[in-house]
């Protein structure tokens, strides 16, 4: 098999495996998997910018929260129909990406990290400031009646799983196609050597801007899906914690790999889940795990796999 058909097979296998998990795993883990898949969509959005374009953002919670609040506020506080509210969430995430990308891309490297961090922090504080509408840290719950789409009740555990799997699969396949496309390869060129890419005639600024737009909007879709499927919107999701999570997931799973984000979320989720069952200090365990991975598997799980076993891994 060629690398291309192998990667095609890999992605379909992964999706089949996740689908099979629904029938094999106990209900608790099916629930976990739904959550992991939605967060993996967020992580894939982050990976597009960090893993493939080489831009390290510390403010992606802003995009996640833009989708989440754009949808959540308009459906719950504004009373709009679910479909329309989803479109508003999408538009919000896109607009925020448009503005943040325009401004933040004027900076580079550490300054880019800090500027994105600042914008996200301002977003978080804005959510708190308008506490009378957003309910701040406490957050708000979206009525079960509002969490239906095309007549499917998405608060139901089964429907939620399949919806999450559908969203995850579409995103995964789109990412796989994207990174093999000439656009995706140009992004990799920007990551590897921006000046050389420019001197080959690539409009590197435009490439980076499009990457921010796609990445931010995808993160927003993740936020929206989270609100829709799990029915809760809160300021935690806009906090710096949620900007650092996707960085960790992607680094753990393997930056610049298609399956890395899912592996990273899965690993981190179960790490915290398992360790919190025998100790309160799950953050301690997470910290130690980070250090160990950082010292011994710097390419992340999928990256190490690619380096040692499957060089064709996309």
């Amino acid at each position: 098999m060629t690398g291309k058909s192998k990667s095609y097979a890999l992605h379909l296998c992964l999706i089949a495996l996740l689908a099979a998990a629904f029938f094999i795993l106990p209900q608790y883990h099916v629930g976990v998997l739904s959550r992991v898949m939605v967060l993996a969509v967020y992580a894939m959005g982050y990976n597009m910018l960090f893993g493939y374009t080489g831009l390290l953002s510390l403010g992606h919670a802003l995009f996640f929260a833009a989708g989440m609040y754009g949808f959540g506020l308009s459906v719950q506080q504004g009373g709009l129909p679910t479909g329309l509210a989803l479109l508003i969430g999408l538009a919000t995430a896109f607009t925020v990406s448009l503005v943040v990308g325009f401004l933040a891309l004027r900076t580079k490297e550490v300054a880019f990290m800090i500027v994105t961090l600042m914008f996200a922090q301002a977003g978080y504080l804005t959510v708190l400031y308008f506490g009378s509408i957003t309910r701040g840290d406490e957050g708000f719950v979206i009525n079960t009646a509002k969490r239906a789409l095309f007549g499917v009740d998405l608060s139901d555990e089964t429907a939620r799983f399949w919806a999450a799997l559908l969203l995850f699969s579409v995103t995964l396949l789109a990412m796989a196609a994207l990174v093999k496309s000439s656009f995706g390869r140009a992004l990799i060129a920007v990551r590897e050597n921006e000046e050389r890419a420019m001197m080959l005639g690539y409009d590197t600024h435009r490439l980076k801007y499009v990457a921010v737009l796609l990445s931010g909007t995808l993160a927003g879709i993740g936020g929206m899906a989270y609100a829709l499927l799990f029915g809760y919107v809160g300021a935690t999701f806009a906090s710096v914690q949620y900007s650092i999570f996707p960085l960790l997931w992607v680094l753990l799973g393997g930056a610049g790999t298609t399956i890395g984000p899912l592996l990273g979320v899965l690993f981190m989720y179960y790490l915290i889940d398992i360790s919190s069952s025998f100790t309160d200090a799950y953050m301690l365990v997470a910290g130690v795990a980070l250090l160990i991975l950082c010292l011994f598997a710097p390419q992340g799980l999928a990256g190490e796999l690619r380096k040692r076993v499957f060089p064709w891994l996309p």
Binding site: S182, R185, A186, I188, A189, E192, N193, E195, R196, A197, M198, M199, L200, G201, Y202, D203, T204
Partner: protein, 244 residues
């Protein structure tokens, strides 16, 4: 009929914080010519070509390409017009395979299907003799091969103007010979501007020579004219004294 002018500069000037790197450079490059740009160290050659392809913004003056004023265009747009530039300090995509390095150059204009891109890449790699290393990671190549890869990336762009900034620097003797053959092979199909220290390479490739000294054009003409020019000899002798 005289050959059309491909590239022209008018009063091109660059100052770095009061220090003049280039002063009022008026330069003409006819289409199809292979021209060498020579001059002592610090004469402003790299700054000059940097301004041609837009890497370095000019302080004043204009650049014309195919009769159009491109002074205000950013680097990537100038490149897209048909200028290729190889870096003085090797700059390849070190973590990507050799094939992908050239493919990025070929693919940019978007006119080819991926299969056509790969055909073209193989053709270019074959031409420079890197085809058997196509699947290696570029960073693993020897220095000489990386320099050749740079040239292959330039060829992959199908440039109208090919600017090579000190391409033979650090190459072994046999590689230099291969390079000279390659340039002579390209002659006629593209216009070449070659910055070069190695006078032997210049004499074996160039049809015309421009000499820069202290950021100004000191002389231009055929290789014979330049060789016999007393001002050029003085400039070279002068700086070699200063370097000692």
């Amino acid at each position: 009929m005289a050959a059309m002018t491909l590239l022209e500069t008018r009063a091109l000037t660059k100052t770095f914080g009061g220090i003049k790197a280039n002063t009022n450079v008026d330069f003409l490059l006819p289409e199809g010519q292979t021209m060498a740009l020579i001059g002592p160290n610090g004469a402003g050659k790299s700054t000059f070509v940097g301004m041609l392809c837009g890497r370095i913004p000019a302080t004043s003056g204009q650049v014309f390409f195919e009769g159009k004023d491109i002074s205000a265009l950013p680097a990537h747009k100038r490149i897209a017009l048909g200028i290729a530039y190889t870096f003085q300090i090797t700059s390849v995509f070190a973590n990507l395979p050799v094939r992908e390095n050239v493919a990025l150059a070929v693919r940019r204009d978007g006119s080819r299907t991926e299969a056509q891109v790969m055909d073209r890449v193989d053709h270019v790699l074959d031409r420079v003799g890197l085809l058997d290393r196509a699947d290696q990671v570029a960073g693993d190549l020897s220095y000489g091969h990386q320099r050749i890869l740079e040239i292959a990336m330039g060829l992959g762009q199908d440039p109208k103007l090919f600017i090579l900034d000190e391409p033979t620097q650090g190459l072994a003797e046999s590689e230099v010979t291969e390079f000279v053959d390659l340039i002579n092979d390209l002659k006629g199909s593209t216009t070449i501007l070659l910055i070069e220290h190695n006078m032997d390479v210049v004499m074996r490739t160039a049809e015309a020579i421009t000499v820069l000294n202290f950021g100004e054009i000191l002389a231009n003409g055929t290789p014979q004219q330049i060789q016999n020019n007393p001002a050029v000899q003085a400039a070279y002798l002068g700086t070699s004294h200063a370097e000692d």
